[in-house]
């Protein structure tokens, strides 16, 4: 009969040791193709979609794409990953989404000192102007114009509400270049419509649950609230869920940034009225392209490569030209 004794205890310990080491069997063989390192900001459908686009370009151009994803959106977590990549000694090009526009400057200088060309995707360091700004060592900043994105959201809400109404913003955390700019653009757009009033901005720490609670509270205290702008994947999710749970689908208009499957589902159901999709696959594809160009001597890479938006509504969501921009959560 089985008895849990010290022999089994030690056996379990040995098994666990093997379990810990087992993933090393999954380690990749460095190929003779150039090695491009891609370090995402955090694990979410946006960056998975970016990886898809990057992998597509990598397959086309004969690049070995090495992808690592930090556990949380935090400079203390992203930096050791960058340093580990440098220690490999065989990286030819690096592109990443820096998670802090100030704190990541010193770690990224180490990349340049190691002789590895790099560019940033989606987010930036310094002020994003790598030609004339305080930070100029990255080759390029490939990403959406997030101020414009915020303005698109504001104008869309204004139109949906007939130019009048109270609106609220669900944001992530201050200090992220992209979402800060979306908030800035949104405020600019709201200011253009005198009948619109911004009643508040909350920061959910990229936690959809927290955002939902915050939104629910605002829905309670502002019975006249007419529109909500969710500035990223989890913020839009939080806003949509809260509106739905309060039974206000359709009465409170929601504009969602980032076209996750969830946002698209909410669009179909009617809880979300507009989804602004960035083009992360395009960012990833361009990043690999520019890397290959640079390595082949075409060094005049534009310091800023803006990528566009697809504005998705219930009317156009079935058009394949639009639906191809949905973020799919799975990497192939």
């Amino acid at each position: 009969m089985f008895r849990w004794n010290r022999v089994w205890q030690w056996t379990l310990i040995v098994v666990l040791v093997l379990v810990v080491l087992a993933p090393t069997a999954l380690a990749e063989d460095p190929a003779k193709k150039p090695n491009f390192a891609f370090i995402a900001g955090v694990n979410d459908p946006f960056y998975i979609t970016m990886q898809r686009g990057a992998q597509q370009a990598a397959d086309l151009m004969g690049v070995n794409l090495i992808v690592q994803i930090p556990e949380t959106w935090n400079a203390t977590v992203q930096t050791p990953i960058i340093d580990a990549m440098l220690s490999r000694g065989d990286i030819d090009f690096m592109f990443l989404a820096p998670v802090d526009k100030e704190a990541m400057i010193e770690p990224l200088k180490r990349v340049v000192d190691a002789g590895i060309p790099m560019l940033t995707v989606d987010t930036f360091i310094g002020d994003g102007d790598y030609a004339n700004g305080p930070v100029t060592f990255p080759l390029s900043y490939i990403g959406s114009d997030n101020v414009e994105g915020g303005m698109i959201a504001a104008r869309a809400l204004a139109e949906a509400l007939g130019g009048k109404g109270k609106v609220y913003v669900q944001n992530v955390k201050p200090g992220i270049s992209t979402t800060d700019q979306r908030e800035e653009g949104f405020k600019k757009g709201i200011a253009e419509a005198p009948g619109m009033e911004l009643v508040g901005v909350d920061y959910n720490d990229d936690d959809a649950g927290k955002g939902q609670a915050q939104t629910a509270a605002v829905l309670q205290r502002e019975p006249e609230l007419a529109g909500i702008f969710g500035t990223n994947v989890f913020s839009a999710q939080a806003a949509a869920n809260a509106v739905k749970n309060a039974g206000l689908s359709g009465k409170v208009k929601v504009v969602a940034f980032d076209a996750t499957e969830f946002a698209i589902q909410m669009l179909k159901e009617g809880t979300v009225d507009l989804v602004i999709a960035q083009k992360p696959a395009e960012m990833g594809f361009f990043a690999v392209e520019m890397g290959m160009a640079y390595l082949h001597g075409y060094v005049d890479i534009p310091k800023r490569i803006p990528t566009g938006y697809a504005v998705i509504t219930r009317d156009n969501m079935d058009d394949p030209e639009i639906s191809k921009w949905f973020y799919t959560g799975q990497s192939d």
Partner: protein
């Protein structure tokens, strides 16, 4: 008759198998670290280099410094969950002060001094409050420090506006990132600056200030815990509070001192972070909070108190640092990495239990 004889014999007889098991339990963390290093050195190109080992050490510096503070508290039977945000708060305080003084044009040395002192003074306060709550008001450490976590986080975010605080004087990033010695092929060794004109790729920097601070902190902590009365009292507290009282130890005062030490070390971690990242961030220590406890536990301390060693915490912190770096260098898919530290903690607990089982016989 046979039963009595058995009991008498059991306390003195130790078979060689038991002795071997006991020895292995004591050094298992070292063995595991050695095994990890060996495996990664063989399978990950670039791992077994001075540069790579130094980077592992540098990236572990804040975690280890904070974990050393945690060691004191855990050995005494407590825990401090606020360390991550005390670290963030101090990072922000120092950065805000230094930014203001820097923009006002004061000399860099003075700015640095004021920033560091301000950071340490502010970092002292959560330690004091934790100590008072736990020693005087008899609050459970888990709850009291969890509350302090929220308060520290609040002030860190308020002071920084939630943003990372930049515009530091140059001395900050130089202290945090420059090496003391630079070695380059065909060039004489230089100090504090790389050899002029050398190709930076072939230059190897040796020893940075954060690394030195980490090493000194570890040595001092070891000395205090192993060779001073303060250390003895700490172990006594963890062993038995009542026995300590009867032995004449001022338990309340000592408890307060421990939480102050822990907060000051978290503050030191925050200052090191500010230097390395040339900025202050409220979330600087968010990821380190649980890792500091993990390092102490993996190193052999018991969460019930009374046991633990500085060297254990050092090994624990390095096991995690080596794991993180090695798995990335091997390009193990990220999701698999998430569980690695968790598995090791479970192993540490099992080994601890197995060892306790041997000791009981």
């Amino acid at each position: 008759m046979a039963a009595i004889t058995e009991t008498q014999d059991m306390s003195t007889a130790t078979t060689s198998r038991q002795m071997l098991l006991r020895m292995v339990s004591r050094v298992w963390a070292w063995l595991f670290l050695g095994m990890l290093v060996a495996v990664f050195s063989v399978s990950a190109p670039g791992f077994f280099t001075v540069r790579s080992f130094q980077n592992i050490g540098i990236n572990a510096s804040e975690t280890l410094i904070v974990a050393l503070g945690q060691t004191f508290v855990i050995i005494a039977g407590g825990i401090d969950l606020s360390v991550g945000f005390v670290m963030g708060l101090v990072s922000v305080v120092a950065a805000v002060v230094m930014r203001a003084l820097n923009l006002a044009g004061y000399p860099q040395g003075l700015v640095l001094l004021v920033g560091v002192v301000a950071g340490l003074i502010i970092g002292f306060i959560p330690g004091l409050i934790n100590g008072l709550l736990i020693a005087r008001l008899k609050a459970p450490p888990f709850i009291a420090t969890l509350g302090m976590l929220g308060i520290a986080k609040c002030f860190a975010f308020l002071l920084s506006g939630g943003q990372t605080v930049g515009r530091q004087p140059d001395i900050v990033r130089l202290l945090g990132n420059s090496y003391f010695i630079y070695v380059a092929p065909n060039e004489p060794v230089t100090f504090f600056n790389p050899p002029p004109g050398a190709d930076l790729r072939s230059v190897l920097g040796v020893m940075t200030l954060p690394l030195l601070i980490m090493i000194i902190t570890a040595i001092v902590s070891h000395f205090v815990l192993a060779h001073t009365r303060f250390g003895q009292h700490t172990y006594a507290l963890g062993g038995s509070r009542d026995a300590s009282l009867r032995a004449g130890i001022d338990v309340d005062l000592h408890t307060m001192k421990l939480y102050i030490v822990c907060a000051l070390l978290a503050s030191l971690g925050g200052l090191v972070w500010t230097m390395r990242f040339n900025s202050g961030s409220p979330i600087a220590g968010e990821a380190l909070m649980l890792n500091s406890v993990a390092a102490v536990v993996i190193g052999g301390a018991s969460l019930f108190g009374g046991e633990g060693k500085v060297m254990g915490t050092v090994v624990g912190a390095f096991i995690m640092a080596v794991l993180y770096t090695g798995l990335v260098m091997l390009n193990v898919p990220p999701f698999w990495q998430f569980g690695a530290v968790g598995v090791i903690i479970i192993m540490a607990v099992l080994v601890d239990q197995a060892q306790a089982g041997i000791a009981r016989r």
